[in-house]
């Protein structure tokens, strides 16, 4: 609460000097200057021109990584397959204490990694006889059988560090049609058709790249590119841009929390594993503090205690002997 004297001062009409001020004129000049600066900056610096990452470039550049990621997808062991809401119900998702934020809003954007990333794309193609037969076997089998094949193959491939040649030939019978399906998907990706098929699994006008981002994000190729461009969260990536372009410097505080304990402790710590949710809450509270600053005792008195405004209007305070 303000003291009675300050309340009295605040309720009185302004008795000091006034001068004319044309805010429309000033706004127009500011808009014009910023527009000219923007045009000049775009003429001189252009915009980031990073080469697009595609499934074709992934499958051609890092076929083993693509193959193993596809095996994770069909087995449901990928990161996106176990993410939880809003994509699936495989887990409770990130939490703040007892509050599971994403789960509260439910599965609003369903993604089935087996069908969306493997089976449906393969079904749109004219495949080789081997892949067609494998797909037919998969489609007529029950869920338990499908999961058994896919999990066994995923485990075997992981043990062999992604190298199919190291998987004992005698074990192939345990994997059913899965190796042929993954091989078909790799061929499809290398030809470039997987990019188009994944993009077309939606509306007529397709601007939703969620599925592509999830699939690509499950592999190492996408992550390696992000690391090389300093775009990972643990290297202030939120603030950065590709090349030498400036990034979102105003997100420094948001990005800052990811660099310090307990939020930088990865998945080993409850705070690290749920850093996104905790940091969102912290930033929400800080933003609310900024919005409601005039109502927070102590904070709202800072301009009086640290009178920076007197520096800006120093001439006025000098003339008025204030």
């Amino acid at each position: 609460m303000s003291s009675p004297r300050i309340q009295d001062l605040e309720s009185q009409p302004w008795a000091g000097r006034t001068r004319r001020y044309d805010i429309i004129k000033e706004g127009t000049i500011a808009l014009l200057v910023v527009t000219l600066l923007t045009i000049a900056a775009s003429m001189f610096f252009g915009s980031p021109d990073e080469k697009q990452l595609t499934f074709k470039s992934w499958a051609v550049t890092a076929p083993a990584d693509f193959y193993q990621t596809a095996a994770h997808e069909i087995a449901g062991s990928s990161e996106s397959a176990g993410y939880g809401a809003p994509y699936n119900s495989a887990s409770d998702g990130v939490n703040v204490g007892p509050l599971h934020l994403a789960k509260i809003f439910g599965v609003s954007h369903p993604v089935n990694s087996v069908n969306d990333f493997v089976v449906t794309p393969l079904s749109t193609q004219v495949n080789t006889p081997e892949v067609s037969a494998a797909l037919k076997t998969w489609n007529v089998s029950d869920l338990k059988m499908q999961q058994g094949w896919a999990s066994k193959y995923d485990d075997a491939l992981t043990k062999a560090n992604g190298d199919q040649a190291k998987i004992p030939a005698g074990a192939l019978a345990d994997f059913g049609p899965v190796p042929a399906m993954i091989g078909g998907l790799l061929t499809m990706a290398q030809s470039g058709s997987l990019d188009a098929v994944l993009l077309s699994q939606g509306n007529y006008f397709q601007f939703d790249n969620t599925k592509q981002t999830l699939f690509m994000g499950d592999g190492n190729y996408f992550n390696d590119q992000s690391t090389a461009s300093h775009l990972q969260g643990d290297t202030w990536g939120m603030m950065n841009e590709t090349g030498r372009y400036p990034g979102q410097a105003w997100l420094w505080l948001y990005s800052f929390w990811y660099q310090i304990p307990p939020f930088n402790n990865g998945d080993q710590h409850p705070f690290g594993a749920n850093a996104d949710a905790y940091i969102m809450v912290i930033m929400g509270l800080l933003s609310a503090g900024l919005v409601f600053m005039p109502f927070i005792p102590g904070i709202r008195s800072l301009p009086r205690r640290i009178p920076i405004h007197r520096l800006i209007w120093k001439q006025y305070y000098k003339q008025e002997n204030l």
């Binding site: 610096f45 915009s47 202030w236 030498r244 990034g247 410097a249 001439q315």
Partner: protein, 53 residues
């Protein structure tokens, strides 16, 4: 692409101090913002100069 577009798409230079990591470009932008703020604090208003006459 821009006149300096080719140069801007080169690999960026990053500075490290412990857990702090920042690109030279971001550092320049932040220093420019601080400099503009300090100028706004210290430079007199054009109107003030007229009043002084």
């Amino acid at each position: 692409m821009g006149i300096f577009g080719h140069f801007m798409n080169f690999k960026a230079v990053y500075l490290h101090w412990g857990w702090l990591q920042i690109s030279v470009t971001n550092l320049l932008i932040i220093l420019s913002m601080v400099a503009i703020f300090l100028l706004a604090l210290t430079l007199p208003f054009p109107q003030d100069k007229e009043n002084q006459k």
